[in-house]
């Protein structure tokens, strides 16, 4: 268990570098996919809900520290997202949940939760159109992340190798 935590945290570093340097290059109208969330959902499904929750907390903390966003905002969002994704961590259904479309749907759900919480704690102007803000800040990035996750999961190992 401890080794797997160590490996998932080590894997986080290159993903974070890609997220902050290369991923902005594939943004569409400032909507960018969240690679860190895809990794988090993968671990939540394969390793369980508690693992996903704790890992979300660690990922969020590291992300907040190095990017300059409000410290704690990504932490809380990723913690809850890891918890939500952890509901799909049934021991004998892992292969089903890691299938192309299913994995995309789980990522979409977790990303939606993640982005809504993050937007809430980022204190945007409440007088603006709240539905439009949630559509732009939560739905679109979640959809893009889910699409990308479907491509990534084709190449990801189906057993607990990562």
């Amino acid at each position: 268990m401890k080794t797997s935590y160590l490996f998932s945290i080590l894997l986080f570093i290159p993903v974070l570098i890609i997220q902050t340097t290369i991923v902005p290059l594939i943004s569409i109208a400032q909507v960018i996919p969240d690679l860190i969330l895809i990794l988090l959902v993968y671990y939540s499904i394969t390793e369980g809900q508690i693992y996903g929750t704790v890992l979300g907390f660690v990922y969020g903390f590291a992300f907040d520290l190095v990017t300059g966003s409000l410290l704690g905002s990504t932490m809380i969002a990723k913690t809850v997202a890891g918890f939500v994704a952890g509901y799909f961590s049934s021991e004998n259904k892992i292969d089903i949940y890691l299938m192309f479309f299913n994995f995309g749907m789980i990522v979409f759900l977790a990303a939606l939760v993640d982005q809504i919480i993050f937007s809430f704690f980022s204190a945007f102007d409440i007088s603006s159109n709240i539905f439009l803000i949630f559509f732009q800040n939560a739905f679109l990035p979640a959809f893009y992340t889910a699409l990308l996750s479907m491509i990534i999961i084709i190449f990801a190992p189906k057993k607990r190798i990562l």
């Binding site: 902005p24 190095v66 300059g68 966003s69 809380i76 704690f121 204190a123």
Partner: protein, 278 residues
């Protein structure tokens, strides 16, 4: 009791862990401005930025050719403008001398590259490869040849983080270049807007918006964008005006840090003035 606690933990451990971590996160949010947190953050992003700068450089090489062509074109245009401005500068200097005005232009620029970006739609930040060792300080404006990008928010020895205009926590006083009317501009999570604009103001679509001398962050006019839509709020006496920024924040790669921070002397003077009348 111990048995009850044991069974409680066994049945609800996922929720207990979630609750503890969420509460801890909320505590961290409340501690954002403490010096200790700022110090840890400066060390963390400084270390991380040294790694990302290598990756960023590799990808920047590809775009250099295109940027070079654009720069050549800009250079030619600037050369033409420069000859006009030289004439104007001579007249300006003479007039200033006659009026005994101080020269406020000529701030030194620190060249920097963007090593990483965080583009959440509400908290836009960029990490630059210059830091306190290059004399960068918190509060310095970040600009490109097109206009204002943001303000330096956190500094380590070799790197710094700047909040872009697409950050809800950054508010800047701007003015209409044509009408000279001032207003407070901010990112509302969706667009850049000048808020609480009296309906009597004459700001029109297409007017150039620049930073105001009233700003405590940017001490002299830097182009920001053009006025777009006027929200025409039916009730109340204020409007909101949308601003389209000159700078494309998603594509910005090379910037300059303006080596100036709002004058402490001016701040103290204004504070004393206010105290006098309280």
């Amino acid at each position: 009791m111990l048995r009850f606690l044991n069974s409680f933990w066994f049945n609800f451990k996922e929720y207990i862990i979630l609750s503890v971590l969420v509460i801890f996160s909320l505590f961290i949010i409340s501690q954002n401005h403490s010096p200790a947190v700022q110090k840890v953050r400066a060390i963390a992003f400084g270390t991380f930025a040294s790694v990302t700068s290598v990756v960023s450089d590799i990808f920047n090489i590809k775009s250099l050719k295109k940027e070079n062509e654009q720069l050549r074109e800009t250079n030619a245009k600037l050369m033409l403008q420069l000859s006009k401005l030289r004439e104007a500068a001579i007249v300006n200097d003479e007039l200033k001398e006659m009026l005994s005005l101080k020269d406020t232009s000529g701030f030194p620029l620190i060249s920097a590259s963007v090593v990483s970006k965080s583009f959440s739609r509400v908290q836009g930040t960029i990490t630059l490869n210059v830091g306190s060792s290059d004399s960068v300080k918190v509060g310095m404006p970040v600009i490109t040849d097109k206009g204002l990008v943001g303000i330096i928010y956190s500094v380590s020895s070799n790197y710094s983080i700047a909040r872009t205009l697409q950050n809800v926590d950054l508010k800047i006083t701007v003015k209409d270049e044509r009408t000279r009317e001032n207003g407070l501009m901010k990112w509302n999570g969706e667009k850049l807007v000048i808020i609480n604009v009296p309906k009597t103001y004459q700001i029109k679509k297409g007017d150039r918006i620049v930073t105001s001398e009233l700003s405590s962050l940017v001490p002299f006019p830097i182009p920001v964008g053009v006025a777009a839509e006027n929200s025409n709020v039916e009730t109340g006496i204020f409007n909101e005006i949308q601003v389209i920024p000159f700078v494309d924040f998603a594509k910005v790669e090379n910037v300059f840090v303006l080596k100036t921070v709002a004058s402490k002397e001016i701040d103290e003077l204004e504070l004393n003035f206010l105290k006098k009348f309280q």
